[in-house]
Amino acid sequence: MLISPILFLILLGVNLFFVGSRPPQKVNQLIISSIGDASFLNPILAQDSASSQINSLVFNGLIKYDRDLEGFVGELAESWEVRGGPEPEITFHLRKGILWHDGKEFTAHDVKFTYDKIMDEKTNTVRRSSYELVKKAEVPAPYTFRVTYRQPFSPGLETWSMGIIPKHLLEKVDINTAPFNRKPIGTGPFRFVEWVSDEKIVVEANPRYFQGRPNLDLIIYRILPEVALNEMEIMTRSVDYSSLFPFEFKRISHVPFLKTYSEPSLGYTYLGYNLKNPLFQDRRVRLAFTHAINREEIVQYVLYGLGTVATGPFPNHLWYANPHVKPIPFDPKKARQLLAEAGWKDTDGDGILDKDGKPFRFKLITNSGNETRRDVGVLVQRQLREIGIDVKFEFYEWSVFLKDFVNARHFDACILGWGLSVDPDAYEIWHSSQIEKGFNFISYRNPQVDRLWEEGRREYDIEKRKQIYWRIHELIAEDQPYTFLYVPLGISALQRKFVLVEKEGSSKETFHEIKMEKAGLMYDLIKWTVPQQIVLEQ
């Protein structure tokens, strides 16, 4: 009877011995960790970030953003032209000779097919909204794709970076349930190899890629649901690249075989005031709040310094953010003064400001499960208390939070964040037509800003658009319908063994360090490699 515990101990011992004598590794592959499993390896159905990341390796769009996220460069399209007018027309001239991973040739019919599938009501895609202003899409020649809009709509250009799917494989099947979604065929730099549910997804270099074969042989996505343990896997080198938590950043940056990166995210976190609530209708009150909230402190203590104070509705680092709009300084004295001007004084000496016998008291809400927002809320609550505002802070489960509070417009103030697309158009968030059913749930209304958003959508010229968005930035910062809190930095770690290789001519290769681009670390992924002659430092 006592044999089983002994057997167990022996097994354990053999195992520990084996583990101690593990051989080192040196292969030309990249292992990326991902929190969640992918859902659809089909760009028109995928909504989650894991799927989108893999889709971007397997599929190509017609165009893609350049490395500074300012303009576009051709991908499947060699060139394109925009013909202005009341019903603008975009004509894409496609590259010839691009092959799908199964060997069939890519043509404009695939593009048309992709568009038709997105517009098909039976397709379970959320992408349709972006194409609603398209009047027609046609294929005038096998390598030409033309799209006509009902009205000028410059944000529409970005939507053609959507991955194109093959017509010959998806024409005759139900796209929502097609086996294709689990073993995709694309035109991209990497070919799909294998997907083991909840464990890994593997892609390999596409030798016939139109920009040349990528240097890496394999890319493996490992699904590691417990983010806190990601670090362990980086340290044991069984993950090469992973995003990090702010609190891990300092620790990881001291590890000799790892390099850490940071980039401003495309989004920001804010404190939104329900402008239907009389408490917040006075601009001076909102401005006073922004003065009273020490956003530098929030960035420093909640984000460990890994963020910047937001000044308006755009992330600070891109072309459409107005550099002349400076953050409103932390100034509690000014805040008290502004509130006094608005009629809020502490007449009964209880430490809470009041007006017409009513104390300044409101409820601040956010979703539960987001520790950053919780910490931000606690700081906001304390800082507002110091100028005599009584804040009750509550969290609700995400779906309840959305349904009963945000969508029902039933809240005083909320802490939330926006994740934005690269195009500056945020009509859905700020235009007054979006108050009823759209995303303008704080009910912000400014006719001048409305007009500018409309203008921005009509304008295709980047310089003119810049003027428009700079003005919007100024106006919204002046109105302070939100207290713009911060733009977080996205941080990640990569094993140092990876380098960028540039091939000049046929034999000469130069190695460069991998740098963070505005378009992300992986912008030049097809040039990454693990040099074989360099011995890795232990």
Partner: protein, 319 residues
């Protein structure tokens, strides 16, 4: 016996229908929706409505329930998340969970029973007290915390990957090394998974043993000069293990139901993680199917336990 089985079987069926209706109502009526979980300004509310329609979520609840049942039995049931047949998704993961839990169960039973008997034999000795202390520690310490400690400790000590079912860089491994690698990855989560059960079951065996060794027939056995080993392991233990049958009945659903926390912590691709993610994503077809499977297994487990009682203990009669 036959009439007892038929009667129990009918009861089982009715209970099952009841369970499925109640869980259907709770799951679908809980706040949240499978569509548009995030607020994305590029997704208009109109699209969300259309998607609800595509997934039959605009239909009345009783009709949705009927549709679910129909699809379940015709094999048409598909996950909202990736459009794949639910059974296929479950089949992919259930064997991983089964493996993990089977190993954990083997650890529990092979260690707990000897430990329990040993403690009972030397009641209140130093080792028995140590065992008691260890058992309380094992029961009260949260398993995810123990898992974190174990992971941190092993990574610190050996620098060898622990998460997942296998290592990822195994190009220059021999077959034996690959096998050892798999065992290594199986070992840590199953040890953690076993700790709680081990602590509980060893206590259970101990107290059950203590009760039995005071019985007359044990004294008789001792008096007629049987060796101690034979008295304890042959006569006493058999009788002491009767209540363990109940525990075994509960174990069956556990084997399949998996462990949500351990599978997430150890990145183990099993059914527990699937059901957790499905709940978060409000993937009703998957949640409901897993719930129904574990309901069936619980009922079957109880059913088997009932029959086993009759076999193990002749005093029990079915009427």
């Amino acid at each position: 016996m036959a009439s007892f089985i038929t009667r129990r079987f009918l009861q089982l069926l009715i209970t099952l229908i009841g369970i499925s209706i109640i869980s259907w109502v709770i799951i679908t009526q809980a706040p949240g929706s499978p569509i548009a979980l995030t607020i994305d300004p590029k997704v208009s509310p109109k699209i969300v409505e259309q998607m609800m329609k595509n997934y039959d979520l605009d239909k009345p609840i009783q009709q949705q329930y009927y549709l679910w049942l129909k699809k379940l039995f015709t094999g048409q049931l598909r996950s909202f998340k990736d459009g794949r047949p639910v059974m296929e998704k479950i089949n992919e993961r259930i064997w991983n969970t089964l493996l993990l839990n089977l190993v954990a169960t083997i650890i529990i039973f092979s260690l707990a029973i000897p430990l329990g008997v040993f403690s009972a034999k030397r009641q209140y000795s130093f080792l028995d007290n140590l065992g008691t202390f260890g058992a309380y520690l094992g029961i009260s310490a949260p398993s995810f915390w123990l898992a974190y400690l174990l992971i941190l400790g092993t990574v610190e000590l050996f620098g060898y990957p622990v998460l997942g079912m296998r290592s990822f860089v195994t190009e220059n491994f021999t077959t034996a090394e690959i096998v050892m690698d798999r065992i290594w990855h199986l070992m840590l989560p199953s040890i953690i998974l076993a700790i709680g059960g081990l602590a509980g079951l060893s206590r259970y065996t101990r107290s059950s043993m203590l009760e039995v060794v005071r019985q007359d027939y044990v004294r008789t056995a001792k008096a007629k000069g049987l060796p101690e080993e034979s008295v304890y392991y042959k006569h006493a233990l058999r009788n002491a293990l009767l209540p363990i049958i109940t525990i075994f009945g509960f174990l069956i659903p556990d084997l399949i139901g998996g462990s949500i926390i351990m599978e997430s912590v150890f990145a183990w691709p099993g059914i527990g993680r699937l059901s957790y993610q499905a709940v978060l994503a409000r993937d009703y077809p998957v949640v409901m199917t897993i719930l129904s499977i574990s309901a069936v297994l619980t009922l079957i487990g109880n059913f088997i336990a009932d029959i086993l009682y009759g076999i193990a203990d002749p005093r029990i009669r079915y009427q």
